[in-house]
Symmetry: C2
Subunit: 356 residues, 2 copies
DNA sequence: CTGAAAGCGCTTACAG
DNA sequence: CTGAAAGCGCTTACAG
């Protein structure tokens, strides 16, 4: 009574029978291999394939070829801001090259290990890691995989293993570019609403680097860092909102704020608006990102853009190249350059006139 | 010179040899099957498994069991607002039940077909569709799969095939609840910034339903619909911004706006702010969503929440149940109820006093 | 309780 | 140019 398979899927034997040849010949024709079958045989086989609607069973193929045309992807958070763009890039490139992607979410090292085990069992051809935690200690299992010959790329997590391909954004440059933009506009009291900084426990590499870029830009311009203008806010709009409230209690306000990322920037702008400050007339705001196809703020946010989707595309391209044994696929570190996108949230400081 | 597999992965034969039994016995012990091996044999086998670090090859297993413990997921847009939450729910549930998810993005019917073909070839055990277009004509290939015995669930796309499980949000209720909330606050001039409406070509079911819910609520309250207060804005903040500007040019302004979703609501609020209107003192705004873990607006947005992640979880639960042949897995339509979440963006209309 | 045999659906040397 | 044989690594009746 219940639904069931109407007819079994045809196998290569069915095709062979119908075309009156052996399965080997069918296989060879379909793979386009060696002793090219005669034109006649080929046509008969193709006709049989067509007639039966035959498609090779990928599982059976994998068993013998030891290739699955599948890439494993391990990410730490699906709902995080970077993930959709990265996945989108990976999936797009993979699909184009006739690979598919198997996805597992892993929140910590233990889950990462488990994911890797599943990927090994399912015989993926390569794995891409996009996990942002900075725990370094136990990452040996990644190196281990690489040494076994698995193509691997790690996105946004500096491992430092020369055998593993890394794709990273230049976070130092992001901090520098954002800050230099503000300096260029004439600002000298520039606050930074930072991400989760170390060194205790969980930390984000990017946050530390962007802060360093901020300091570097100030130093280059001969400006001192006022530590009061430095505030940690994690990576949420809500905490950024509070952090900004804090900044606004200072005796001497900043004239510009560099927010560690766009999400944080939204919180900053909301706090400014709530407190009655006009952006950018009284206070400028610059973010960093590229996560959102569309992040609408009023005024539109000036931001340092990172090519996130491109990172995904390159990751897929690299592992596929490695699977296919391309020479170009030797592991190294790819650094993606950020780019300033100026919109309405930044402008000269209110007292810029007095400088002239 | 180049990296290569250090040692071949151990097979069931290696284990058998080491434990001095046959591969069949190893398999039976590992599966926990029938003629339970003697305690002694079992221990010897387990020890051998441990010593060699043996793990069964999932591909080989799949070939004989005709099960891959893999669910195929087809989505139309990775960067769309619903997707991350849905995927997160699916992946979480799947992982818990030891399934993995194979992901393919398909922008149109042709790509969907191709994706389905890949899934068939790779022998996924079930497929989940999360594709939002409303093209109905060619969806027969989905019914076809179902009739072949593939467990299938479709999220957010009313197919109307009783053989296919559907998970949908009650979009009509969303429109009704949002509007009733505003009516309850005393509003009578309520605008609606709608999504992409049909009937020409591409359209979103949800947008149409939410609009219907809006109309229904107004009708129930004995309020006439002022068609001037109805404006289509797609699903982007930017277009919502423009649409709102339009509304603000009306001779008689609305005192409240129901935005078809949260993204649109952001555009609406930005436009109001830009034009100098205070929310909610002068104009109230209500959205709908659940897409964002955190959507920060100032003031915080009142919204009709949809349990998006839950939809993903249920989709996975359903197909896995069906794969395992559970009786509970008969296809039907699951409707997820939305829930009003009141925050700061809605309040009584400015002239509410005059009603008393 | 344990093992030999067959088979899942392919591909790949190797003969002829 | 084509086919028989072996094998990929498992599981599943079936004997014993």
């Amino acid at each position: 009574m219940t639904a069931q398979k109407v007819s079994k899927r045809p196998t290569i034997r069915d095709v062979a029978r119908l075309a009156r040849v052996s399965p080997s010949t069918v296989s060879q024709v379909l793979r386009g291999h060696k002793g090219y079958a005669s034109r006649e045989t080929t046509e008969r086989i193709l006709a049989a394939v067509e007639e039966l609607g035959y498609r090779p069973d990928a599982i059976a193929q994998s068993l013998v070829t030891a290739r699955t045309r599948t890439i494993g992807l391990i990410i730490s958070s699906i709902t995080g801001p970077l993930f959709p763009q990265v996945l989108s890039g990976i999936e797009q490139e993979a699909r184009q090259q006739e690979y598919s992607v198997l996805l597992i979410c892993a929140k910590d090292i233990e889950q990462e290990r488990a994911a890797v085990q599943i990927f090994r069992d399912k015989r993926v051809d390569a794995v891409i890691f996009m996990t942002t935690s900075r725990e370094q200690p136990d990452l040996a299992f990644i190196s281990q995989m690489a040494s076994e010959g698995y193509p691997i790329v790690v996105i946004n997590r500096p491992l430092g293993d020369p055998a593993i391909h890394e794709i990273v954004w230049d976070d130092l440059a992001i901090g520098r570019i954002a800050t230099e933009h503000l300096i260029g506009l004439g600002h000298s009291r520039i606050a930074h609403v930072a991400g989760t900084l170390g060194p205790t426990g969980y930390s984000y590499w990017a946050a530390v680097e962007r802060l360093a870029g901020y300091r570097q830009a100030l130093a280059n311009a001969g400006l001192a860092v006022d530590e009061q203008l430095l505030i940690e806010a994690g990576h949420s709009s809500a905490r950024a909102f509070e952090a900004t409230d804090h900044l606004l209690k200072l005796a001497e306000l900043p004239t510009a704020i560099f927010a560690v990322d766009d999400t944080v920037a939204v919180g900053v702008m909301n706090a400014l608006q709530r407190a009655g400050y006009r952006v950018p007339q009284e206070i400028s705001v610059v973010g960093a990102g590229g996560a959102y196809d569309e992040l609408q703020t009023e005024p539109p946010l000036t931001t340092v853009y990172m090519p996130i989707k491109e990172a995904g595309r390159r990751a897929a391209r690299h592992v596929i190249g490695a699977i296919d044994g391309h020479k170009s696929a030797v592991p190294h570190r790819e650094v993606l350059a950020p780019k300033l996108r100026i919109h309405g949230s930044t402008g000269p400081p209110p007292d810029v006139q007095s400088y002239h």
